[in-house]
């Protein structure tokens, strides 16, 4: 067993850290306050290859492994959650689903431009009446000749206003419950697609979140991802990847809280000594330090399992649950350590708290993850093999250049 990161991982970590520190840190507070996404963000992330980080080179990606994806998410969210959200929806939930389930044609048509960052992708499962209970969605896709007609509304969709492609989960056979769901690749330019922004979110205010309405949107049959009736499994498999990025990101948020707290605790003095020398402050710092290490090991294990091609639903859920809960606690404690200053947006820690709170809600609430973990432990839940598993990381395959046309 080797707990060290290899050269490649360390260089990825450093590169992403520098990018986030140098380019995003100086402007993030202003964008967060204004609730405006950073306009050049996708372009820069694309130029660095981040938008296709773990996608094989032959599909336009950078050919790195799943651990690199996690490390990048940790570094990005150390600066702001909105950066990691891009990785979660564009790379993990959407692009990796295409890699896992897509036909070669779908990969060429959609995955390649997404991995290159020429097109931005989002994931549309949640609806006004269906969040944790994903099988309760009402969006329908009715087959009519060569197309499916899509009708319904999705909400709380990250990048709703900015994405070019959506992975949409809809009911093709509403009678059949979760077995009657299918997944579709929908382009923004298809007729009857409308999107709008959700304002007034507690956190991730520099990130775009919105709703999508489909009104008789014709989706070509060749844009169905996977088989008819496979949508629920595709949606859940996507979450295995999305949750991994959330876990890694939340780990970065804990680190951000720890770093800010350590710095402040070494500067601020009360009762004639640095506040870091007060034991009750030390307790909060110690918990952050421990939780950071635990969260990091949990997500890296999940990433390693992905590399090996092992099913990781249980491990990823645990990593996500633990890291996000710990992130909320770390942010609360970081504010406490900063005292009244922490309560103001002059310091970053209040933003960390607002961002952390979303993470115990999206991609499976903490309650859902509690149930998942209990069900695994009690033997009530077992993973069944999927028709298409996420491919194990093979450096030779990932780095092979595309065959000349």
């Amino acid at each position: 067993m080797d707990f060290r990161l290899n050269d490649e991982h360390r260089m990825v970590q450093q590169m992403v850290r520098e990018f986030a520190e140098r380019e995003v840190r100086p402007v993030i507070q202003e964008h967060d306050r204004a609730q405006k996404p950073i306009p050049w963000l996708f372009e820069r992330m694309a130029a660095l290859g981040l938008l296709g980080i773990c996608i094989p080179v032959k599909y336009g990606g950078a050919g790195m492994d799943y651990i690199s994806l996690g490390l990048a998410c940790e570094e990005l969210e150390r600066v702001d959650s909105s950066l990691r959200v891009v990785m979660s929806v564009h790379v993990a939930l959407n692009s990796l689903s295409l890699l896992q389930w897509g036909t070669e044609e779908q990969k060429q048509r959609y995955l390649v431009p997404q991995a290159r960052g020429e097109k931005i992708a989002a994931y549309a499962l949640t609806e006004p009446g269906a969040g944790s209970d994903a099988a309760a969605i009402r969006t329908t896709a009715r087959r009519q000749g060569d197309v499916y007609l899509l009708n319904g509304e999705k909400t709380w969709i990250s990048l709703a206003d900015l994405a070019d492609h959506f992975l949409v989960i809809a009911k093709t056979d509403p009678e059949k419950g979760h077995r009657g769901m299918s997944a579709f690749i929908v382009e923004r330019t298809f007729p009857g697609v409308k999107t709008g922004t959700i304002h007034g979110k507690l956190g991730v205010r520099a990130g775009n979140t919105g709703w999508i309405v489909f009104e008789n949107t014709p989706v070509p049959a060749e844009n169905r991802l996977g088989e008819e009736g496979e949508g629920f499994y595709i949606a859940m498999a996507a979450l295995d990847n999305g949750r991994y990025t959330v876990a890694a990101g939340a780990t970065g948020l804990i680190r951000a809280c720890l770093e800010a707290s350590v710095q402040y605790a070494n500067q601020r003095t009360t009762f004639g000594k640095r506040i870091g020398e007060h034991q009750l402050v030390q307790e909060m710092i110690a918990k952050m330090a421990a939780n950071y290490e635990i969260a990091r090991l949990l997500y890296l294990r999940a990433g390693w399992m992905k590399n090996m091609g092992l099913r990781n639903t249980r491990e990823t859920s645990l990593a996500k649950w633990f890291a996000t809960e710990a992130a909320v606690q770390a942010a609360l404690d970081a504010i406490q350590i900063h005292g009244a200053y922490g309560y103001s947006d002059e310091y970053d820690v209040e933003r960390y708290l607002r961002n952390a709170k979303g993470e115990v809600i999206y991609e499976g609430t903490s309650q859902i993850h509690t149930l998942i973990q209990a069900e695994y432990a009690l033997g009530y839940r077992r993973d069944r093999p999927l028709r298409c598993e996420l491919p194990a990381y093979d450096p030779e395959v990932w780095r092979a250049e595309p065959a000349p046309a």
Binding site: E8, Q14, M15
Partner: protein, 264 residues
């Protein structure tokens, strides 16, 4: 064009340096980085390669762990990397360091340009570029802020040097030794570069490989001695608020105070 870029691994500029009683300098567990001045040289070298073709080789002299800095250079786009490492190099001063670097440049052969930062952020002596140019017998273009033109066929280069008094435009024949000021925005390593760097086996050249005898390198060959190393005394800071009835009066008091302190 074949370019050699010299890089040095230094403590992070944000590191908290301490000097103990025996004169040992420590930066705690702060990370080691590529000397930021050298990053400008790397970036400029890569731009020249992109424009004129050729290769960029990164060379560093240091411990085995300095391979990290070379990998960073390769991840940014350098084609080759060589570590100059030999226990005998220990204690080399700037001039001896230049001797070793010059031997490496000669061993590579067919080099058009040697580029490095104007100085390292740890030693800050800025002696290596001139010493190296002297050792190689090439022109030195130090403190370069801009490359105006390069004519690889006509074997010449025109640069702007940044001097305290202003900018100086200098033409020199190639090959030449250049030291870089803050002249560009260094790129991030690319994923392709990272993959290449991670797999690259970096050769190590020793004194013997460079054709240098033990008495030509290291502390024994060095003229510079370090009789004492100590942290500079912390400047004493006093803060004084100047008050007055009007801005004019405040300005007058301020000028008087500055004159009294011999600032003006």
């Amino acid at each position: 064009m074949n370019i050699v870029v010299l890089v040095k691994q230094t403590p992070d500029t944000a590191a908290n340096l301490t000097v103990d009683a025996s004169g040992r300098v420590s930066w705690g567990d702060a990370p080691l980085i590529v000397n930021p001045w050298d990053e400008f040289a790397i970036e400029e070298s890569l731009r020249l390669k992109e424009k004129f073709g050729g290769k960029v080789a990164a060379i560093t002299m240091g411990p085995e762990s300095a391979k990290e800095a070379l990998k960073q250079a390769v991840a940014m786009g350098c084609d080759e990397a060589i570590l100059l490492h030999d226990p005998a190099f220990e204690g080399s001063d700037a001039v001896v360091t230049a001797t070793i670097l010059a031997a490496a440049v000669r061993k590579l052969g067919a080099v058009d340009l040697v580029f490095m930062g104007k100085e390292s952020v740890d030693g800050n002596s800025a002696q290596v570029p001139p010493a190296l140019a002297r050792r190689l017998g090439w022109p030195l273009l130090a403190y370069v802020g801009k490359i105006r033109e390069v004519d690889p066929a006509g074997r010449s280069i025109v640069v702007e040097r940044i001097l305290e008094e202003g900018r100086q435009v200098v033409r020199a024949p190639l090959p030449a030794v250049l030291s870089a000021m803050q002249m560009n925005e260094p790129r991030y390593p690319s994923f392709m570069g990272i993959r290449k760097a991670a797999r690259m086996a970096i050769p190590i050249w020793t004194a013997a490989d460079l054709g240098l005898a033990p008495d030509q390198v290291g502390a024994a060959a060095s003229a510079a001695r370090w009789p004492a190393i100590f942290a500079p005394p912390k400047p004493e800071v006093r803060c004084e608020f100047i008050q007055g009835e009007s801005p004019e009066e405040i300005a007058r008091i301020l000028v008087d105070r500055l004159l009294a302190e011999k600032v003006l």
